[in-house]
Subunit: 344 residues, 2 copies
DNA sequence: GTGAAAGCGCTAACAA
DNA sequence: TTGTTAGCGCTTTCAC
């Protein structure tokens, strides 16, 4: 097996034909150019023999099109994101595109660098779950003509197409469930402040309160990011002051936060739902198998992934009907044992 | 903001210098070539002004080096894989490399295509979690000089560097724990047959039996892949025949299988560990929070990811000390409530 | 200190 | 039906 790769040139040389002929055959337009069947066969044969594989780099440079898309995710180890990434990868592959993956790790500097990198790689389009606190770099790229779709988090009043979840409505329903079960003192453990996702979910929390004429105690809204530790730490504090605050339920804005809360409750020996009700954003395949099955706000990652790809390729293929570039998918409330009726 | 990107050519033109000068400056070797400070400054300035970003495609073509690595994973939505992917991405980024992600979806055809694709993209190296039932395509590429590292699954007696878990030892310890607790009739729900991972784990199961002089009942070894459904279906069958088989414990070879088992036990109202003990490969941050905290065989993904990257770059940088290219990281048994002592 | 020019592998317009 | 050739954006040798 030779170490230096075969090129169309080497095929052309061994056969005594020209590179264009080889190129045409390799691109399957041999017939169209009425290249003789035997030439076609011969080319395929030597290609095989020389173990030829086309050089995508050269092709990309020439065509100014790479057939790649870039994906930037804050944390692929989060199941919700990894499922979306999978969807994106699969759909892209079907369309003949490959995926460049970047993990921004929740760090805006990395996000900016990753974006620059993808630009330098001339990816044909970008799907990003932005950190969500800054959009200038995204807007600049988009305005410059690079196909781009935001997923999960977006920026209000900024002209960047997105597909996300109707977080507010989901949060509203979740909190109404609590309220309808007699809860009026509900803690909200939030994620990263300033992100649309968080804002919407907290807004849903607030709206549920308003709708039912319940005073909002701002001190009940705590936390700072979507991680496990945040959930754990904030829950710990809440549990320690349960007598003072009279909190009877927690609304968790993310799956990792929820795990932290569960850990804390376990440590502090606080029974769910007897002593504390819990409802959480994000459904997982283990949600019903936890020590108390958790009521969740499910949002379908598959659909979001699909929509994102659809939106992106409509930009790439320039078939864009420039209407409704923004999509909010609905949520679905899954009721389980973690919410209990109380007499208020 | 102009739509057509600036190139070193356009910078050279606006400044009336040559492309080589610009190239040198952009690559930070301006001083080395004793290019005048004002020229350097001017070039940087216009680069900024024209919003120049280097074209990695062109650079790659010229250098025959892409500063990318390819990653092929059977299922990134599996937390264990996604964590490894994250590790790989992060380390690569630190070294100035980007990641091409492919999800083989457990399909050998896709795996082969993905590999071909990465080859065509001239990635500088490949990290793959192979489906594990075929290695010819991998070996061919490796023999041809492409840096390659297998992760998690490997092929015995095939000269392909890998970093994996000491699955056999882990399985051995897990089953010894069961045996030491009086269990002798242990079911094993296996994953994809023919993969090293599965073989090793089943071997560990068998070895534990042999070591303790327990007859192995081959009919107790069931299942066919690492998915949730497999765990669910096999557990259902086991639970229905509990009286006949006298099975007292299940050894699950993977995290998704375990979730399926838990679901089945819940449905069939079989209490863990009172009626059935359970121990599982793969630790997750929710393992201790399940309705029965699960004893697990933990294997540290971070270390595996790091080792894989290390091995890969030692090949890429050709600093390879050609010894010990294979790594097996140890497992760690985490004991929780899901295993109960029984009087045998 | 700076520039000219070849060439990485491929495509496609133009030629024959 | 097939070939010639320019050029995608960049690096680098050689020249001055």
């Amino acid at each position: 097996m030779s170490k230096n790769k075969a090129t169309i040139q080497s095929i052309a040389d061994t056969l005594g034909v020209s590179v264009s002929t080889v190129s045409r055959v390799m691109n399957g337009v041999g017939k169209k150019y009425r290249i003789s069947t035997k030439t076609i066969a011969a080319i395929h044969e030597t290609a095989e023999k020389l173990n030829y594989t086309p050089n995508k780099i050269a092709k990309s440079l020439r065509l100014k099109k790479t057939f790649t898309i870039g994906v930037i995710i804050p944390d692929i180890s989060n199941p919700w994101f990894s499922k979306i990434t999978m969807r994106i990868e699969e759909e892209s592959r079907k369309r003949g595109y490959s995926v460049f993956l970047c993990n921004s790790n929740g760090d805006i500097t990395i996000e900016r660098d990753a974006l620059k990198l993808l630009e330098n790689w001339s990816v044909d389009g970008i799907i990003i779950v932005p950190i969500g606190i800054e959009y200038k770099h995204l807007l600049a790229l988009y305005k410059n003509g690079k196909p781009l779709v935001l997923v999960d988090r977006f920026f209000e009043d900024v002209e960047l197409p997105y597909v996300s979840t109707d977080d507010k409505q989901g949060a509203l329903e979740a909190n109404e469930l609590l309220i309808n079960n007699g809860h009026t003192r509900i803690a909200c453990i939030q994620g990263l402040r300033g992100t649309s996702q968080n804002t919407q979910r907290v807004n849903g929390y607030k709206e549920a309160h308003k709708k039912h004429g319940i005073q909002i105690d701002e001190s009940f809204i705590v936390g700072s990011d979507f991680g496990y530790d945040n959930g754990y730490n904030e829950a710990k504090k809440i549990l320690k002051n349960l007598k003072d605050t009279q909190i009877t339920a927690i609304f968790s804005t993310g799956n990792q936060i929820t795990l932290g809360v569960l850990k804390a409750c376990k440590e502090e020996n606080v029974k769910i739902p007897e002593e504390l009700s819990l409802i959480s954003f994000d459904e997982n395949n283990y949600s019903e198998l936890l020590y108390t099955p958790i009521s969740t706000v499910s949002h379908i990652d598959d659909e979001i992934g699909n929509k994102a790809i659809e939106l992106l390729f409509s930009q790439i293929d320039k078939n864009t009907i420039e209407e409704s570039t923004n999509v909010l998918t609905p949520t679905h409330l899954i009721q389980r044992a973690s919410v209990q009726k109380i007499s208020s």
